[in-house]
Amino acid sequence: MMDNIPFLIFSFITILTALGTVTARNPVYSVLFLVLTFFALSGHYILLNAQFIAVVNLIVYAGAIMVLFLFVLMLLNLNKDSEAPRPWLWQISAALSAGMLLVVLAGSMREASLYLVKGGPEAGEIGLVKNLGKALFTEFVVPFEISSILFLAAMVGAVMIGKKEKQQA
Protein backbone atom coordinates (compact mmCIF):
# COMPACT_ATOMS: atom_id res chain seq x y z
CA MET A 1 0.00 0.00 0.00
CA MET A 2 2.77 2.42 0.89
CA ASP A 3 4.72 2.03 -2.33
CA ASN A 4 1.98 3.26 -4.63
CA ILE A 5 1.91 6.70 -3.04
CA PRO A 6 3.94 8.28 -5.93
CA PHE A 7 1.41 6.79 -8.34
CA LEU A 8 -1.47 8.28 -6.37
CA ILE A 9 0.19 11.69 -6.18
CA PHE A 10 0.91 11.78 -9.92
CA SER A 11 -2.61 10.54 -10.72
CA PHE A 12 -4.12 13.23 -8.55
CA ILE A 13 -2.07 15.95 -10.28
CA THR A 14 -2.86 14.50 -13.71
CA ILE A 15 -6.62 14.42 -13.22
CA LEU A 16 -6.79 17.78 -11.47
CA THR A 17 -4.78 19.60 -14.13
CA ALA A 18 -6.68 17.84 -16.93
CA LEU A 19 -9.93 19.11 -15.43
CA GLY A 20 -8.30 22.52 -15.19
CA THR A 21 -7.45 22.37 -18.89
CA VAL A 22 -11.05 21.67 -19.76
CA THR A 23 -12.69 24.15 -17.42
CA ALA A 24 -10.34 27.16 -17.38
CA ARG A 25 -12.04 30.16 -18.92
CA ASN A 26 -8.82 31.74 -20.16
CA PRO A 27 -7.18 29.70 -22.98
CA VAL A 28 -3.69 30.57 -21.72
CA TYR A 29 -4.49 28.94 -18.38
CA SER A 30 -5.71 25.91 -20.31
CA VAL A 31 -2.33 25.63 -22.05
CA LEU A 32 -0.44 25.98 -18.76
CA PHE A 33 -2.64 23.35 -17.08
CA LEU A 34 -2.00 21.04 -20.02
CA VAL A 35 1.75 21.51 -19.61
CA LEU A 36 1.37 20.49 -15.96
CA THR A 37 -0.61 17.43 -17.10
CA PHE A 38 2.26 16.45 -19.38
CA PHE A 39 4.77 16.84 -16.54
CA ALA A 40 2.66 14.55 -14.34
CA LEU A 41 2.39 12.03 -17.18
CA SER A 42 6.18 12.08 -17.54
CA GLY A 43 6.32 11.24 -13.84
CA HIS A 44 4.07 8.25 -14.56
CA TYR A 45 6.38 7.16 -17.37
CA ILE A 46 9.40 7.31 -15.06
CA LEU A 47 7.52 5.22 -12.49
CA LEU A 48 6.86 2.71 -15.28
CA ASN A 49 10.58 2.47 -16.20
CA ALA A 50 10.02 4.19 -19.55
CA GLN A 51 12.71 6.84 -19.28
CA PHE A 52 13.07 7.55 -23.00
CA ILE A 53 9.34 8.13 -23.46
CA ALA A 54 9.31 10.34 -20.35
CA VAL A 55 12.03 12.62 -21.71
CA VAL A 56 10.59 12.68 -25.23
CA ASN A 57 7.18 13.53 -23.76
CA LEU A 58 8.69 16.50 -21.96
CA ILE A 59 10.69 17.74 -24.95
CA VAL A 60 8.11 17.18 -27.70
CA TYR A 61 4.83 17.82 -25.90
CA ALA A 62 5.58 20.19 -23.06
CA GLY A 63 8.44 21.83 -24.91
CA ALA A 64 7.43 22.09 -28.55
CA ILE A 65 3.72 21.49 -29.10
CA MET A 66 2.52 23.47 -26.11
CA VAL A 67 4.79 26.41 -26.95
CA LEU A 68 3.29 26.31 -30.45
CA PHE A 69 -0.21 26.48 -28.96
CA LEU A 70 0.82 29.34 -26.69
CA PHE A 71 2.37 31.26 -29.60
CA VAL A 72 -0.79 30.88 -31.66
CA LEU A 73 -2.94 32.06 -28.74
CA MET A 74 -0.73 35.11 -28.27
CA LEU A 75 -0.56 35.74 -32.03
CA LEU A 76 -4.34 35.73 -32.37
CA ASN A 77 -4.65 37.85 -29.20
CA LEU A 78 -7.00 35.34 -27.61
CA ASN A 79 -5.37 35.51 -24.18
CA LYS A 80 -8.52 36.70 -22.51
CA ASP A 81 -11.91 35.28 -21.66
CA SER A 82 -13.82 35.76 -24.90
CA GLU A 83 -15.76 32.54 -25.10
CA ALA A 84 -19.50 32.49 -24.52
CA PRO A 85 -20.35 29.50 -22.30
CA ARG A 86 -22.52 26.70 -23.58
CA PRO A 87 -26.09 26.50 -22.24
CA TRP A 88 -26.66 24.52 -19.05
CA LEU A 89 -28.46 21.69 -20.79
CA TRP A 90 -25.52 21.31 -23.17
CA GLN A 91 -23.02 21.21 -20.29
CA ILE A 92 -25.00 18.60 -18.39
CA SER A 93 -25.41 16.40 -21.45
CA ALA A 94 -21.69 16.70 -22.26
CA ALA A 95 -20.83 15.57 -18.72
CA LEU A 96 -23.35 12.73 -18.95
CA SER A 97 -21.98 11.54 -22.30
CA ALA A 98 -18.39 11.59 -21.06
CA GLY A 99 -19.38 9.81 -17.85
CA MET A 100 -21.21 7.06 -19.71
CA LEU A 101 -18.21 6.64 -22.03
CA LEU A 102 -16.04 6.32 -18.92
CA VAL A 103 -18.25 3.54 -17.54
CA VAL A 104 -18.16 1.66 -20.84
CA LEU A 105 -14.40 2.05 -21.35
CA ALA A 106 -13.39 1.18 -17.80
CA GLY A 107 -15.77 -1.76 -17.60
CA SER A 108 -14.78 -3.32 -20.90
CA MET A 109 -11.04 -2.85 -20.45
CA ARG A 110 -11.08 -4.14 -16.88
CA GLU A 111 -12.71 -7.37 -18.04
CA ALA A 112 -10.25 -7.67 -20.93
CA SER A 113 -7.13 -7.12 -18.86
CA LEU A 114 -7.74 -9.48 -15.99
CA TYR A 115 -6.21 -12.53 -17.62
CA LEU A 116 -3.64 -10.61 -19.67
CA VAL A 117 -1.40 -8.94 -17.16
CA LYS A 118 -0.24 -9.97 -13.75
CA GLY A 119 2.35 -8.52 -11.43
CA GLY A 120 4.10 -5.20 -11.68
CA PRO A 121 6.11 -3.26 -14.26
CA GLU A 122 9.24 -4.91 -15.58
CA ALA A 123 12.37 -3.82 -13.76
CA GLY A 124 14.39 -4.40 -16.94
CA GLU A 125 15.84 -1.91 -19.35
CA ILE A 126 13.15 -1.91 -22.03
CA GLY A 127 12.50 1.79 -21.72
CA LEU A 128 16.10 2.88 -22.18
CA VAL A 129 17.30 4.58 -25.35
CA LYS A 130 19.54 1.65 -26.28
CA ASN A 131 16.77 -0.95 -26.44
CA LEU A 132 14.15 1.32 -27.98
CA GLY A 133 16.63 2.52 -30.59
CA LYS A 134 17.48 -1.04 -31.50
CA ALA A 135 13.80 -1.88 -31.94
CA LEU A 136 13.17 1.36 -33.83
CA PHE A 137 15.94 0.80 -36.37
CA THR A 138 15.41 -2.92 -37.00
CA GLU A 139 11.79 -3.92 -36.58
CA PHE A 140 10.18 -0.52 -37.09
CA VAL A 141 12.57 1.11 -39.54
CA VAL A 142 9.99 1.46 -42.35
CA PRO A 143 7.41 3.37 -40.30
CA PHE A 144 10.24 5.47 -38.91
CA GLU A 145 11.33 6.53 -42.39
CA ILE A 146 7.73 7.08 -43.49
CA SER A 147 7.20 9.38 -40.51
CA SER A 148 9.91 11.66 -41.92
CA ILE A 149 7.84 11.99 -45.11
CA LEU A 150 4.81 12.71 -42.93
CA PHE A 151 6.71 15.49 -41.20
CA LEU A 152 7.81 16.96 -44.51
CA ALA A 153 4.22 16.91 -45.76
CA ALA A 154 2.98 18.51 -42.52
CA MET A 155 5.62 21.22 -42.77
CA VAL A 156 4.81 22.02 -46.39
CA GLY A 157 1.10 21.95 -45.58
CA ALA A 158 1.45 24.27 -42.60
CA VAL A 159 3.50 26.76 -44.63
CA MET A 160 1.09 26.64 -47.58
CA ILE A 161 -2.01 27.05 -45.41
CA GLY A 162 -0.50 29.74 -43.24
CA LYS A 163 0.80 31.81 -46.14
CA LYS A 164 -0.88 35.16 -46.56
CA GLU A 165 -2.78 35.42 -49.80
CA LYS A 166 -2.15 38.64 -51.68
CA GLN A 167 -5.33 39.10 -53.71
CA GLN A 168 -8.22 38.33 -51.46
CA ALA A 169 -11.76 39.46 -52.04
Binding site: N4, P6, F7, T37, I65, E83, M109, S113, P143, A154
Partner: protein, 101 residues
Protein backbone atom coordinates in the same frame (compact mmCIF):
# COMPACT_ATOMS: atom_id res chain seq x y z
CA UNK B 1 6.15 -0.21 -7.20
CA UNK B 2 3.28 -2.60 -6.99
CA UNK B 3 0.39 -0.83 -8.67
CA UNK B 4 -2.12 -3.16 -10.30
CA UNK B 5 -2.65 -2.61 -14.03
CA UNK B 6 -6.33 -1.89 -13.33
CA UNK B 7 -5.44 1.44 -11.78
CA UNK B 8 -3.59 2.57 -14.91
CA UNK B 9 -6.56 1.47 -16.99
CA UNK B 10 -8.95 3.51 -14.84
CA UNK B 11 -6.63 6.52 -14.88
CA UNK B 12 -6.24 6.55 -18.65
CA UNK B 13 -9.98 5.95 -19.19
CA UNK B 14 -10.72 8.89 -16.93
CA UNK B 15 -8.18 11.07 -18.74
CA UNK B 16 -9.65 10.11 -22.13
CA UNK B 17 -13.16 10.93 -20.93
CA UNK B 18 -12.03 14.29 -19.58
CA UNK B 19 -10.72 14.97 -23.10
CA UNK B 20 -14.05 13.94 -24.64
CA UNK B 21 -15.85 16.16 -22.15
CA UNK B 22 -13.67 19.08 -23.16
CA UNK B 23 -14.30 18.54 -26.87
CA UNK B 24 -18.04 18.51 -26.22
CA UNK B 25 -17.97 21.46 -23.84
CA UNK B 26 -15.68 24.10 -25.30
CA UNK B 27 -16.31 26.50 -28.18
CA UNK B 28 -12.76 27.75 -28.64
CA UNK B 29 -11.24 25.65 -31.43
CA UNK B 30 -7.72 25.87 -29.97
CA UNK B 31 -8.93 24.46 -26.65
CA UNK B 32 -10.72 21.70 -28.57
CA UNK B 33 -7.39 20.81 -30.22
CA UNK B 34 -5.78 20.73 -26.77
CA UNK B 35 -8.46 18.35 -25.51
CA UNK B 36 -7.65 16.08 -28.45
CA UNK B 37 -4.02 16.15 -27.29
CA UNK B 38 -5.29 15.12 -23.85
CA UNK B 39 -7.07 12.12 -25.36
CA UNK B 40 -3.93 11.14 -27.29
CA UNK B 41 -1.96 11.28 -24.05
CA UNK B 42 -4.46 9.05 -22.26
CA UNK B 43 -3.86 6.44 -24.97
CA UNK B 44 -0.10 6.97 -24.62
CA UNK B 45 -0.30 6.28 -20.89
CA UNK B 46 -2.19 3.05 -21.49
CA UNK B 47 0.33 1.97 -24.15
CA UNK B 48 3.33 2.66 -21.90
CA UNK B 49 1.82 0.95 -18.88
CA UNK B 50 0.87 -2.20 -20.80
CA UNK B 51 4.25 -2.22 -22.56
CA UNK B 52 6.02 -1.96 -19.24
CA UNK B 53 3.86 -4.57 -17.50
CA UNK B 54 4.22 -7.10 -20.31
CA UNK B 55 7.92 -6.47 -20.97
CA UNK B 56 7.42 -5.63 -24.64
CA UNK B 57 9.13 -2.64 -26.26
CA UNK B 58 6.62 -2.35 -29.15
CA UNK B 59 4.16 -0.36 -27.07
CA UNK B 60 6.71 2.33 -26.36
CA UNK B 61 7.67 2.51 -30.06
CA UNK B 62 3.97 3.01 -30.79
CA UNK B 63 3.88 5.88 -28.31
CA UNK B 64 6.82 7.41 -30.14
CA UNK B 65 4.90 7.27 -33.42
CA UNK B 66 1.78 8.69 -31.77
CA UNK B 67 3.88 11.65 -30.65
CA UNK B 68 5.17 12.11 -34.22
CA UNK B 69 1.64 12.12 -35.62
CA UNK B 70 0.43 14.44 -32.85
CA UNK B 71 3.17 16.95 -33.64
CA UNK B 72 2.25 16.95 -37.34
CA UNK B 73 -1.44 17.22 -36.49
CA UNK B 74 -0.90 20.13 -34.12
CA UNK B 75 1.16 22.10 -36.65
CA UNK B 76 -1.32 21.67 -39.51
CA UNK B 77 -4.33 22.18 -37.24
CA UNK B 78 -2.96 25.40 -35.82
CA UNK B 79 -2.10 26.67 -39.31
CA UNK B 80 -5.71 26.02 -40.35
CA UNK B 81 -6.96 27.83 -37.24
CA UNK B 82 -4.76 30.86 -37.95
CA UNK B 83 -6.22 30.95 -41.46
CA UNK B 84 -9.78 30.64 -40.10
CA UNK B 85 -9.11 33.47 -37.68
CA UNK B 86 -7.80 35.64 -40.49
CA UNK B 87 -10.98 35.14 -42.48
CA UNK B 88 -13.64 35.22 -39.75
CA UNK B 89 -11.88 37.09 -36.88
CA UNK B 90 -12.91 34.29 -34.52
CA UNK B 91 -11.92 30.75 -33.57
CA UNK B 92 -15.38 29.82 -32.32
CA UNK B 93 -16.28 26.41 -33.75
CA UNK B 94 -19.91 27.52 -34.03
CA UNK B 95 -18.96 29.74 -36.97
CA UNK B 96 -17.52 26.86 -38.97
CA UNK B 97 -20.81 25.60 -40.38
CA UNK B 98 -20.48 26.72 -44.02
CA UNK B 99 -20.51 23.11 -45.23
CA UNK B 100 -23.92 22.60 -43.64
CA UNK B 101 -25.63 25.31 -45.66
Amino acid sequence: MNVPIDQYIYLSSLLFCIGVFGVLLRRNAIVVLMCIELMLNAVNLLFVSLSSYMGDASGQIFVFFIMVVAAAEASVGLAILVMVYRNTRSVDIGFLDKLRK
